[in-house]
């Protein structure tokens, strides 16, 4: 078989892998910028849930401070579930997933690209939601410590969520299955993120009561690592 002339020489395996991840992530972000479904919808959802919490819990200014971390993180969790639901469902519906599976790429690159795109989209939502929450609750949610916590939490969520979203997208009742699979596994993430936010809002520069940031970082590493290894098994038919 003669050497295929169309293919470029592969200078470095890692380089080309990252290029593939980049191309796929850019594709998702480009699609989002054209369709504008996910970010806008999730953002409105976040603001709506904020209102719902206020109506349901009916907290006053004094209590608000104590409840902010919980309200924030539960809201972000459910918003994230919505965003994840779109990630693979759209590919499946449009029939483009097979096109990606046919390509000579490592399937973990597809996973990482989706994680990256999800993190970017969630961050776009958080960029608007956090200031709103900060204003409504009169809480310093834009402090660097809080932003770091939100980033770590989002990354961990996306890492675990993308794996299970890929799984759920191939089953019936995918909307029910995704939260069932994901939420128990994310309990440590919720605990770490909410408690860290709590400490930070109380005025500390870093979380004091436990090494929550390390926990969050550890979770991110765990989920990313496990998913990169296991993702292929989810997509083979």
């Amino acid at each position: 078989m003669s050497e295929p002339s169309a293919l470029s020489p592969q200078p470095s395996a890692l380089g080309s892998y990252l290029r593939v991840v980049g191309a796929l992530a850019l594709k998702d972000l480009r699609l989002e910028s054209r369709r504008r479904e996910t970010v806008a919808g999730v953002l409105v959802f976040v603001l709506l849930v904020l209102g719902l919490f206020q109506f349901a819990l009916d907290f006053e200014r004094a209590e608000a401070r104590r409840l902010v971390p919980g309200v924030l993180w539960i809201t972000l969790l459910f918003a994230g579930l919505l965003a994840l639901g779109r990630a693979f469902a759209a590919e499946r519906d449009q029939g483009t997933l097979d096109g990606l599976l046919l390509a000579p790429i490592d399937r973990s690159a597809l996973y990482l690209a989706k994680v990256l795109a999800t993190v970017v989209m969630m961050s776009a939502v958080e960029a608007v939601a956090l200031p709103v929450f900060a204003g409504v609750f009169d809480a310093p949610l834009l402090a660097p410590g809080v932003l770091l916590t939100v980033f770590l939490g989002t990354l961990g969520f996306a890492a675990a969520g993308t794996l299970f979203a890929a799984l759920a997208a191939q089953t019936r009742a995918r909307d029910v299955l995704l939260p069932l699979l994901l939420l128990p596994l994310l309990v440590p993430l919720l605990i770490g993120a909410a408690r860290a936010t709590d400490d930070l809002l109380a005025g500390a520069a870093t979380p004091v009561s436990a090494p929550w940031w390390e926990l969050l970082a550890g979770l991110c590493a765990l989920f990313l690592g496990a998913s990169v290894l296991l993702f292929d098994a989810l997509l083979e038919e």
Partner: protein
């Protein structure tokens, strides 16, 4: 299998034919496709019940068969999209079951789905896949690809705004961008007008080193391919070179095979 035999159905199943043919005519190795005993279950139902297939470089094979015969499943297996439940598959000299990723870069696939993103432009779609396939001099090739399929000026149009026929052509261009060694086409005529079909014929005849083409239309099968195989009930029931067949022959055989398995 020569056309002289009165009743091709007297020959048992496809694999016996293939084995016979293989024994009779010495072929150069390695082949492009070598499949033995491909079986695919979905749950407890067998979509493919044991297919043998052999394709050499430069050969064009047409798969015909009624709906549900397993054409799409077989093509998906050859594309390494789906793993067989049993059997072996060698593609381009590589064990496609152990190392599917090694061979994917040399396959071009046109399927029922176009694999095109509706909200990306034609050029963006091609560039994306070009990057995934590691295509060199990408911009150049994308432009050339668009020109070949007659969408030269439409690179900037979103795929969703293109007609079905144009999308199908773009799907062809996508499949050819990385100059594959094996083209797998599932009903590639879908949506194509006269000109499009001519384009497809030209591509099948000239651009691809080896082709497996699934189609309903027996005329197209005869026109485009060197060999035709009738797939029925998950098995290859009949296989013959097209040079020896007339359309009437093929129709009769097809009807016979299809009713035998009904």
């Amino acid at each position: 299998m020569t056309g002289a035999t009165a009743n091709p159905l007297a020959k048992l199943r496809g694999r016996e034919l293939a084995a016979e043919g293989a024994a009779a005519v010495p072929r150069p190795a390695p082949s492009v496709v070598e499949a033995r005993g491909l079986v695919k279950f979905y749950g407890a139902t067998a979509a493919l019940r044991g297919c043998d297939l052999r394709l050499d470089a430069g050969e064009r094979l047409a798969l015909v068969g009624p709906n549900g015969a397993g054409k799409t499943t077989l093509l998906k297996l050859l594309a390494t999209l789906v793993r067989p439940s049993a059997g072996r598959l060698m593609l381009l000299g590589v064990d496609a079951l152990r190392q599917p990723a090694a061979v994917r870069g040399r396959l071009g696939v046109v399927a029922h789905d176009t694999y095109l993103y509706r909200d990306l432009t034609a050029a963006e779609n091609l560039k994306l896949y070009g990057r995934l396939y590691g295509v060199d001099r990408l911009d150049e090739r994308v432009a050339a690809g668009l020109a070949t399929i007659g969408l030269g000026g439409l690179g900037g149009r979103r795929v969703g705004t293109l007609s079905r026929g144009q999308q199908q052509r773009l799907a062809l261009a996508r499949a050819l961008l990385h100059e594959p060694a094996l083209l797998l086409l599932d009903e590639p005529d879908t949506g194509l007008d006269e000109a499009g079909q001519g384009l497809l014929a030209a591509i099948v005849r000239e651009r691809a080193p080896a082709v497996v083409l699934a189609t309903h239309a027996l005329e197209r099968a005869l026109a485009l391919a060197d060999r035709v195989a009738i797939l029925s009930g998950g098995r290859i029931a009949y296989s013959a070179p097209t040079a020896d067949l007339t359309l009437a022959d093929l129709r009769a055989t097809y009807r016979g095979v299809a009713s035998a398995d009904a």
